[in-house]
């Protein structure tokens, strides 16, 4: 086999020529170009990446929304349950209001109920209640409970009694005292008369009944 024949068909190579002759039927023949098929299959465009992005964003948003809604529905319910019976947990300094409004037995039950709740997030709130409730519910005996309520009522009364001092001049004070003195004397004298008249009426009524 000569390599020149293969390279530029110079010289002769019997084997290759024989092979060429055998495969002559498949040799390239320059003819007219092939025509297009009768049915044209349309080109299917790929869905754009933008649409894919939008779909993904919507799905993500929906997922977040579902999570948020479920959390909102679940947690607020727990809070309102506590708030229904709890003695104003949000503002612990208002002890007097708490004692006045909430029966003590209820508060005790509430503490037990809440400690049974399984969720960790709720437990945190229960702990807060536990810290506050004993201050109010400490007295279990009825006498002690009454005393606690009375103390709270006294606190309220004291708070109400603590009014800002009235700024008066010397003349105003004198005038006010004089007027109050005059009115107190007048009212006491009028009271004497009304008491006497009422006494006389009662005596008359007794006499009429006796007859």
């Amino acid at each position: 086999m000569k390599e020149d024949y293969l390279w530029d068909k110079t010289g002769g190579d019997f084997d290759i020529e024989q092979l060429e002759n055998t495969l002559q039927a498949f040799r390239y023949q320059e003819t007219a170009p092939p025509g297009l098929p009768a049915k044209i299959i349309p080109f299917e465009a790929k869905p754009s990446r933008r649409l894919f992005k939008l779909t993904f964003a919507f799905a993500l948003f929906a997922a977040i929304a579902v999570v948020c809604f479920s959390a909102w529905f679940y947690f607020p319910n727990v809070k309102t349950e506590i708030a229904k019976d709890s003695p104003k947990i949000i503002s612990p300094p208002n002890v007097e209001n708490t004692v006045k409004e909430i029966p003590l037995e209820k508060t005790t039950n509430l503490m037990i109920e809440n400690t049974e709740t399984p969720k960790n997030s709720i437990k945190k709130e229960v702990v807060k209640i536990k810290k506050f409730v004993p201050q109010v519910v400490r007295p279990n005996k009825p006498e002690a409970r009454e005393a606690a309520i009375k103390n709270a009522e006294d606190l309220i009364a004291n708070k109400q009694a603590e009014k800002p001092p009235v700024k008066l001049t010397k003349e105003e004070t004198y005038a006010y005292n004089q007027l109050m003195l005059a009115l107190s004397i007048t009212s006491s004298k009028l009271k004497i008369v009304t008491d006497k008249l009422e006494g006389i009426e009662e005596q008359n009524a007794v006499r009429v009944n006796e007859r």
């Binding site: 009014k163 800002p164 001092p165 009235v166 700024k167 008066l168 001049t169 010397k170 003349e171 105003e172 004070t173 004198y174 005038a175 006010y176 005292n177 004089q178 007027l179 109050m180 003195l181 005059a182 009115l183 107190s184 004397i185 007048t186 009212s187 006491s188 004298k189 009028l190 009271k191 004497i192 008369v193 009304t194 006497k196 008249l197 006389i200």
Partner: protein, 192 residues
């Protein structure tokens, strides 16, 4: 123009007449206590209170300032008050004063205008209580209370409308109320 002249000629005299009548009614409701002055030397305790004019206005203003329910009630009762005059004489011994002096006060009330609202006579301590009222139309223009027994005399003269029911209701509660008063002329603490 004619209407305004007419209205002026009618309304002005009417207003003047009303003012004169009101002033006269107030003056008529005022009792004279000169006769009782001689008792001051003989009495063991004397209480003399005269409140009217500016003093009364001051007291009413204070009543508004004081944030107290009783004070508000009293303020309501005396809103139309023009004056209040009180004389109280307490004696150490019985019959230490001249009964004629008190009768002179009672005599001032036995004139047209004053109406007797109530009088009580008790043999115990010879107690006599009289309440008189004076009205100008439908409006009360004066009240007089005279209380006397063997050892004391009390005369109260109120000028202007006053709610007697509220006063009676407030009796006992109205002893000069304790209010926190900050006086302007209080000496300030010295800084060290």
């Amino acid at each position: 123009m004619k209407l305004s002249k007419y209205s002026l000629s009618v309304v002005l005299p009417l207003m003047l007449l009303f003012a004169v009548v009101t002033t006269n009614a107030q003056d008529a409701a005022r009792l004279h206590f000169e006769q009782l002055k001689g008792l001051e030397t003989r009495a063991q305790d004397v209480v003399e209170v005269n409140i009217d004019g500016k003093m009364l206005d001051l007291a009413k203003r204070v009543m508004v300032k004081v944030n107290d329910e009783d004070a508000k009630k009293v303020g309501q009762a005396i809103s139309g008050l023009k004056g209040i005059y009180v004389r109280v004489y307490n004696f150490a011994n019985e019959n230490e004063y001249n009964v004629a002096d008190v009768d002179q006060i009672r005599a001032q009330l036995n004139v047209p205008g004053w109406e007797k609202l109530a009088n009580v006579r008790s043999k115990k301590n010879n107690q006599k209580v009289d309440i008189f009222t004076m009205f100008a139309g439908d409006v009360m223009s004066g009240v007089a209370v005279v209380v006397s027994d063997t050892k004391s005399i009390a005369v109260v003269n109120v000028i202007g409308p006053i709610d007697i029911d509220i006063l009676v209701e407030m009796s006992g509660k109205m002893n000069i109320p304790k209010i926190d008063i900050e006086r302007d002329n209080q000496p300030k603490p010295k800084k060290q």
